[in-house]
Amino acid sequence: MPAHGAYAISTGRSFKARGKVRKSRVMTVEQKKRKEFLDTHKTVVTHDENGKPVIRVEKLDGNN
């Protein structure tokens, strides 16, 4: 019988916390800047003839 008397589907693992768990957060300015960069750029990785990685960063065009 589920704990709250309702039919609940629960899978995966549980984490136990003795302290109060925060249900929301505030993003720092630095985190926002990094998120904005990561959401608008992608790293392109290919390999040269010797198998060495060739890396370049591309700006996404907004349609992605």
């Binding site: 995966g12 693992r13 249900k23 957060r25 392109v44 990785v45 390999h47």
Partner: protein, 172 residues
């Protein structure tokens, strides 16, 4: 990089994946092929020659222990595994911000979870970090679960630190 759901089609190139941790390398070759373990997404190089990283996600929840009672605090997406090939670790994609390929892969994972949570109501993302990975998660907003609870019920390799990320954002 290209993110693709992991299938047996990629098993041969998965054999070449090396994150420097034998256990996690083997997870990609074994557990990650089991759909009941979780769903695995691989990060392929753009020439599709190799797997640069991967993550596996499933579901879980956080309990609050109050006066010895376990009270559900909220559902979560749980990152079972998250790894980057050693050859690509520490590669910075923006000097000023200091973001690395690991940040980019984690951002891909978090964006996917944000998409999935439109269908499944969850409050958190949880994971168990290795000591090496802790700073990556911390700078991306993850919080240690509880100072008293640096343990993993199913310890994988070495010491693990349980961390969580509240998904709801507060406006300042």
């Amino acid at each position: 990089m290209v993110t693709i759901k992991y299938t047996d089609e990629y098993y041969d190139i998965a054999k070449k994946f090396n994150c420097g941790n034998v256990y996690i390398n083997n997870v990609l070759l074994s557990l990650c092929r089991d759909k009941y373990y979780g769903t695995t997404y691989i990060w392929l190089s753009d020439d599709k020659q190799c797997i640069i990283g991967f993550y596996n996600i499933t579901t879980g929840y956080i309990d609050n222990i109050v006066d010895g009672n376990y009270i559900k605090s909220g559902g979560s997406f749980h990152i079972n595994d998250f790894a980057l090939d050693s050859d690509y670790r520490g590669i910075v994609n923006d000097e000023e911000l200091g973001t690395t390929l690991a940040d980019e892969l984690l951002n891909d994972c978090l964006n996917r979870i944000n998409m999935l949570r439109q269908e499944v109501g969850v409050t958190y993302i949880t994971l168990e970090s290795t000591l090496e990975g802790h700073s990556l998660y911390e700078r991306n907003g993850f919080i240690d679960l509880d100072e008293e609870l640096y343990f993993s019920p199913e310890k994988k390799v070495g010491e693990c630190i349980q961390m969580y990320l509240p998904l709801m954002l507060e406006e300042v």
